[in-house]
Symmetry: C2
Subunit: 327 residues, 2 copies
């Protein structure tokens, strides 16, 4: 059993993508979400995520809405809610259509200054409809970092419900609103790193010992700079960063062998979740090796073989972190 913990519905039908434009252009009452058939959803997935997963031997993918299109930078609660509901309904329906191959992870109706109650409501709705995880955007402004740190009490009502419902949170920003900061090649990695540093500075898991947080994209810059973070924690008189590994997991969306090798060596098998972020930031294969850049299962197998270690990263840990997968 191979479970990919980080997939996005980046290939949603045009009618869904167009709905965002309609929302942006609306004035007064909002347009309704488009009616999209089961067939259209199925077709959008079978030729893309499901095809690649089957090729690579991935049994189950945790599918969340397209991250760069979460639209959280628009400071309008009605739009945030309408868009999140539409995006979440798509991944929930996708999981219903392909229950063996897909499980849903929802986004939240975030925007800068959003009241957290609205986020809790949408999370609860989605979990009742089958979602097993949630993406949390630590910077809905798209680069200005104007929201409270992830360790701030602002988030506590959300973390309380997540703890109650056994729902882990993946840290994931949306598109960069800063012209010179590339969304896929800078902002995503920056957010992963920034939030880890916020967790070093805060006491989140003393408050929420059962909360589980996933840092995607191999933890941004964190495992590569593990010694830097260890030294910073010591200098700032914070607890050892290893303590965070009680609650924090890293995904394996790192797109070359040496990066995967280092990630496994530094973080250790118990805190890794197999992921490809597929279909995500990159497409195509390295011309030197012929291996698809995002075929992280290949890198893991090259390092670990068909072993108990591979099983731990690809099947055991995902079920520990996402216990609702077994429900």
């Amino acid at each position: 059993m191979i479970i990919d913990c980080h997939g996005h519905f980046t290939t949603a039908p045009d009618a869904h993508e167009n709905y965002w434009t309609e929302l942006m252009e609306s004035s007064g009452s909002l347009p309704s979400a488009p009616i999209i058939s089961d067939d259209a959803i199925a077709e959008a997935l079978t030729g893309n995520q499901l095809r690649v997963a089957a090729q690579r031997g991935i049994d189950l993918t945790l599918l969340s809405p397209k991250a760069s299109a979460m639209g959280h930078h628009v400071p309008d609660g009605r739009i945030a809610r309408a868009w999140s509901e539409a995006a979440n309904d798509l991944v929930l329906r996708a999981a219903d259509l392909f229950p063996e191959a897909l499980a849903a992870v929802c986004q939240l109706p975030q925007y800068p200054g959003a009241e957290v109650g609205g986020l809790v409501d949408e999370l609860t709705r989605c979990v009742e409809a089958g979602a097993v995880g949630v993406n949390i955007n630590p910077d809905p402004s798209g680069g200005l970092w104007s929201s409270p740190a992830i360790t701030d009490r602002y988030w506590y009502p959300l973390f309380e419900v997540m703890s109650e419902l056994s729902i882990p949170g993946m840290i994931h920003v949306s598109g960069s609103c800063l012209e010179n900061v590339h969304t896929l090649g800078a902002f995503y990695l920056h957010a992963d790193t920034t939030v880890f540093m916020q967790m070093i500075m805060g006491d989140l898991f003393e408050e929420f010992p059962d909360l589980r947080i996933v840092i995607p994209h191999g933890g941004g810059a964190v495992p590569y700079h593990w010694g830097r973070f260890k030294g910073l924690a010591a200098r700032l008189e914070r607890p050892p960063i290893e303590n965070l590994l009680e609650n924090v997991y890293f995904d394996t969306a790192v797109y070359h062998q040496p990066g995967i090798d280092m990630l496994v060596e530094v973080v250790g098998l118990d805190n890794l979740l197999f992921s490809s972020e597929m279909l995500g930031a990159v497409r195509g294969a390295d011309p030197k090796t012929g291996i698809d850049y995002d075929n992280t299962l290949h890198y893991l197998k090259s390092l670990l073989g068909e072993s108990e270690s591979l099983e731990r990263v690809c099947a055991v840990n995902p079920r520990v972190v996402y216990p609702r997968l077994d429900a």
Copy 2:
């Protein structure tokens, strides 16, 4: 001969630190820079950077002003100039006092919206006084990324003079102005990564084939995510990222063995410059190994031994990238 390409005068005499406060509190005409004796400068270094360098066997350190205190976020050209001159004079005098052990790298009087002519003037002044390199801040706003990308024509007059004078530029931001983005644990690494992505998107080195750019802190997240950047370049129809290695170098300020091992494997010896960023982000030793976190020479020696490879990273490449070291 061991040359450390990334050191900061983080231990400058109090009178210098106080000068910043005086500048901030001034109205009307600016206060003059404080008079600091040679003895005070020498004392600030002999017990700190020079002591540690001697302990570790570092022969020569490229010393630049304290990066987090460059003060570039203050949008006042007079203050930027006064402060940069004072900070640069300190490192220039330090290099004059210890010509065998130190060489000066200057900062620029940057601020958001600064005209580039003032930057060129200060660079020229410092090079005439002995500086061998310059730190370039790609985001003087301290996190808002409001300045043109490093590949923008805005910077061209500076790059022209750097090319003429054989002066390489190290990309280095100053303090983060965003409360939730830690300067040392997030913003520095973010800037390194962001600028590499800007260089993927731009055509800087077609315009300036002789320009050399150094990305500090081991390249931020870049070597760890080398496959991601390769895949992004392909997806965005940009040239292979390996082309950038004609002009771009990474320092070795990565504070643990697995990170250094991966950096060397991915980037290769020819594009690495030995660096410790000392005294910098972290202090103290890993309690497990007893090795100082920032003793990057130890990690390099563990990997490479006392070899021609070590010589290349620690002595040969620095002289190639900083040709004025031999002047």
